[in-house]
């Protein structure tokens, strides 16, 4: 029991918790890199994003509601989605230059 708790804590320390915005950005970036005319396979997306499938479905629904992707079953980036990635990159670069940490 102790060992399990210890190893779990160690794992938590190693893997920094991603907030929702970071997950959105990761998901959108994967979608952007997947653009090659083919349909995006959700299980492959799930593996790349490293989240459970039910959570992936929730994120896709939220991104669809925010108009960042056009479809939940076969997601593709919208213009707003591309803008989000660019904005996120800009703000991260700004924070880095400002000496602020973001995890």
């Amino acid at each position: 029991m102790d060992l399990f708790t210890k190893s779990k804590r160690g794992l938590e320390m190693k893997i920094a918790r991603r907030d929702k915005m970071k997950i959105y950005n990761d998901l959108l970036s994967i979608l952007q890199s997947e653009i090659n005319g083919e349909e995006v396979i959700l299980t492959r997306l799930q593996l790349k994003l490293n989240v459970p499938f039910d959570r992936l479905k929730v994120y896709l629904k939220q991104l669809r509601e925010l108009d960042l992707i056009n479809d939940e079953t076969s997601p593709k980036l919208t213009k707003k989605g591309k803008q989000y990635i660019h904005e996120y990159e800009k703000v991260l670069d700004f924070m880095k230059r400002m000496g602020l940490k973001y995890q």
Binding site: E87, K90, V91, F94, M98, G99, K101, Y102
Partner: protein
């Protein structure tokens, strides 16, 4: 003549702070993390204090002495809180967990309460010019300590991951520290050179921040547009 230059520098500083405020709010907007709220608060307060100073310098000869002294008190206190807000943002930026989020929220509420209380105290009309000068000296020393903390923090984060892009902000804060130090010297010896050096170093600090902000938001924008075209 000096009054006009002083007023002009305060107006320029206020404008630069308000431009920076527009960008300083972005980390909070995009991450939704309230621990980044100190930056826009800090630069917003700085802008307001420069605007108040400009107004006070310009109207100095027209306003009753008690009223103008109260204005100087308000700008003095608000400026210290501005530096404090920026410093606590840096302090909390390295601790992203549940406890630190709660501590940040409590600190923010406390600081705002403290600011309001201080502003109430300085509205007492009995405060003499001697008390004002003493308060100003203490607050300037305190400001210098806060700015030195920010300098150390930003230099450390630059040293941890050296990048030519990240050296400018710590240098900008060094200019701000020199500006505060010059103003402190001016307070003790009354030399006009120390006073104007303080104002000029402040303008350099704000210019460095504007250039860095431009580099982050507009050069990347240009780069991504070029990528889109290819």
């Amino acid at each position: 003549m000096y009054e006009e230059i002083r007023t002009a520098i305060e107006v320029i500083s206020a404008i630069m702070c308000f431009i920076l405020l527009r960008f300083m709010i972005k980390p909070y907007e995009i991450t939704g993390e309230s621990r980044y709220l100190g930056l826009p608060l800090g630069f917003g307060f700085l802008g307001v204090t420069h605007a108040i100073s400009a107004f006070a310098y310009y109207m100095e000869s027209y306003l009753p002495i008690i009223f103008s002294r109260n204005i100087f008190y308000i700008q003095l206190i608000a400026r210290t809180f501005a530096f404090l807000f920026i410093a606590i943002t840096y302090y909390f930026s390295k601790k992203p967990n549940k406890n630190s989020r709660l501590t940040w929220k409590i600190s923010l509420i406390l600081f705002i309460a403290l600011l309001l209380a201080s502003l109430l105290i300085v509205s007492i009309p009995d405060l003499t010019i001697q008390i004002y000068r003493l308060t100003r000296s203490y607050l300037r020393v305190f400001n210098l300590i806060i700015i030195l903390y920010i300098c150390t923090h930003t230099f450390r984060s630059h040293i941890a991951k050296p990048d030519p892009k990240t050296i400018w902000i710590p240098l900008g804060y060094v200019f701000l520290a020199v500006s505060q130090y010059s103003l402190l010297l001016w307070q003790f010896d009354g030399g006009i050179y120390a006073f104007f050096a303080g104002l000029i170093f402040r303008l350099i600090f704000l210019s460095v921040f504007l250039i860095v902000t431009y580099g982050s938001f507009y050069q990347i924008k240009k780069r991504s547009r070029d990528e889109d075209r290819t």
